[in-house]
Symmetry: C2
Subunit: 415 residues, 2 copies
């Protein structure tokens, strides 16, 4: 388990158990990279013909595994995914690139698949050399022990400061054949994805061509993983990948090669639901989080303006500490709207907390009952609504409150 | 005093006592706007002919007093400045504008000066109606009791969560006549000035035309008040004003009407020193601050790029909590460089803490001694150096660490 192991009070009541995905098997092991007494490495083995899509951090200093994945995504097919926790292999220079390549060679040899179909990720401390030789002792065993059901344990092996494993699944009709989408993610801190959280992997047995898969993922990420923030800090390792084994073809599913194919309609909806579910779980496990916050911005001049205003609110330490203090401090929401740099007219602004309008037309709503709002702020799920009154742009983002526990976790995470 | 009154450990060893500025008198009083048992209003009365310059928040939801000041700055002259703490008169709609105008009329009548030469500011809670009628009982008394020496008490009357009054002064030769520059500021939280901190006022007896004054202030703010951040939150009320009474003309100083005038060289340097001193004091009183952090970025592709990278580091909650934990966590500095969106090459990056190089050419500096760095991190003044190795752009910014006290102060400031 993670060093800060008490489960977040915002965790889902039930941690769902995922059904396996035909065509992909998982195994986990303990390589002792950093943590003791827990798993810290997972291997996923995919059948031949598995297609792949990915989006990665926009950090200008990406990790070595992100570089590796980007370089090999063009082929559009994947046979194995090797992920470790405890060390991010980021800012590790040439040695880091060599450690990534060494890990990939180990996995390719053990799984007997081509090197360029191996994908990698590392999560944990930045800047420490990755002792990739430690994988040598475990990769063969992982290949031998991989099972479809292993996806549930895989969600645990990739955790760092996470307090619960993040899983989501959906079944969907795919041109008359039922296919499954199952995903896992890890998160907790350094979460302001500019495309994805630190690590999230989605698997499906649907037969879908790689360019279509990439289009689906690129579109789906906008209102899911790109709509969350824990602390405004974008990781060097953010990786979100989607693998389609195509195993449902054996049950009669016909491969989709065109992004306009009508059979994608249900699939797209189900995929986006899984992405949103996982993204929200990342926020629910935000370091030190005690409140889950949904920020709804409407009436902005464009969806982009709405997003920037929503993120300005969601990233404001003063808004987040006010929510932690159960204070419906809409003055700080005004401040965050004002600093976003987007068009705003004080005299048209309306602000609500938990559905109760507290400010309207540039001033305090005379009808609002502070006692009622105070009661609402005690809930663990808080919504903040802002209507700009200027246009039709709207966007929803999710974040968590900022508590002393965030400081405690990050003031002594490394040392 | 402020609600959180224990003096910041980063406060200057001595709180300087300011010399008066000929041509401007100050008075303070207790109007009971919000605080009890302390002063919360200050009035400055300026001699006829006083020129004025100002820069204000770039917030799209500025306070009513900011709107008022902007509307009257064009005249270039000032006779009085009325400031209250405890209520920001921001997001208060038409009533707020009326409260500002009412306050200005009170001051103009009591001081017997034109209404358009009155400047205003309010600092404190956002969104509550300002009970401007409370000024009625005190303004007459303030006019009667104003003295040059009152500037020192004025620095206390404008405090909110500040733990010490912020003052700075300089004397400078001005074409053969010595002139004085004295300034006061308040800060503490909601500090990410996009031009100035919440409130700062600089006074001088030098005779300088208003357009020249504005040029000096606009240039001086860049590497001083625009180079600090406490929490990345930009206030609705940020106001920095510079008043020149011209009283030194009575001692032979000749008025400067041209920004290229050689006599401004010393003055500009002294003014910038006062601005920088006050800006740094704001950071030293950052809410909950225990460490003062200087971030030096060099080798960027431009000064603008250097500034954005430096601010990305200075605003990163993960960097700030690491410093609070006395952890030279350069991996988080890499992360902050990477998320800034500016050109960066991992393999050319060098990072130092307190002058000790910890990372070089894309990886941990093999020569660095962790024990030595750990000792250095125990100091209350920490420097973080980043060299991009790409160009000649450099910039220095200042911030403070992020501690549990910041959360405590802001989790229950309003309620």
């Amino acid at each position: 388990m993670a060093p800060h192991a008490q489960r977040s009070p915002l965790a889902p009541a039930t941690i769902v158990k995922l059904p396996g995905i035909a065509g992909v098997r998982f195994a986990t092991g303990a390589a002792g990279i950093r943590y003791q007494g827990r798993t810290d490495v997972m291997l996923a083995l995919m059948d031949e013909g598995t297609t792949v899509a990915g989006v990665f951090t926009r950090s200008k200093c990406p990790s070595a595994p992100v570089d590796w994945c980007r370089a090999h995504l063009g082929g559009g097919t994947a046979r194995a995914l090797l992920v470790n926790s405890g060390n991010a292999n980021a800012f590790t220079g040439k040695n880091g690139a060599e450690a990534a390549a060494f890990s990939a060679r180990l996995a390719a040899a053990a799984a007997k698949v081509p090197l360029d179909k191996i994908f990698l990720a590392s999560t944990g401390v930045i800047g420490e050399p990755l002792p990739a030789e430690k994988f040598g002792g475990v990769v063969e065993t992982l290949v031998a022990s991989a099972t479809e059901d292993g996806i549930n344990a895989a969600a645990e092996a990739i955790m760092t400061t996470d307090t619960f494993p993040k899983r989501a699944t959906a079944c969907v009709d795919f041109g008359g054949v039922e296919v499954t989408i199952s995903g896992i993610a890890k998160g907790a801190g350094m979460i302001a994805p500019d495309m994805a959280t630190m690590l999230a992997y989605i698997f499906t047995d649907a037969p879908i061509a790689a360019p279509v898969l990439q289009a689906l993922l690129g579109a789906g990420v906008k209102d899911t993983f790109n709509a969350i923030t824990v602390d405004s800090d974008t990781s060097t390792s953010d990786t979100l990948m989607l693998f389609a084994t195509g195993a449902a073809a054996r049950r009669g599913a016909v491969r989709v090669d065109d992004v306009k194919d009508a059979r994608l309609r249900n699939f797209r909806r189900a995929l986006n639901k899984v992405l949103k579910n996982l993204a929200q779980q990342v926020v629910r496990d935000g370091e030190g989080a005690r409140k889950f916050i949904e920020v709804n911005v409407s009436g902005a001049t464009s969806p982009g303006a709405a997003r920037r205003i929503a993120m300005s609110i969601a990233n404001s330490p003063l808004v987040k500490t006010a929510v932690a203090g159960e204070d419906a401090n809409w003055g700080r929401v005004v401040m965050a709207v004002g600093k976003a740099g987007e068009a705003a007219d004080r005299d048209r602004l309306a602000i609500s907390f938990c559905g109760i309008r507290v400010a309207f037309q540039g001033q305090r709503d005379p009808a609002y009952d502070e006692a009622q709002v105070s009661r609402a702020m005690k809930a663990s799920e808080i919504s903040i609504g802002v209507d700009l009154g200027l246009g039709r742009g709207r966007k929803t983002v999710w974040t968590c409150d900022l508590t002393k526990e965030y400081i405690a976790i990050n003031g002594d995470y490394r040392s």
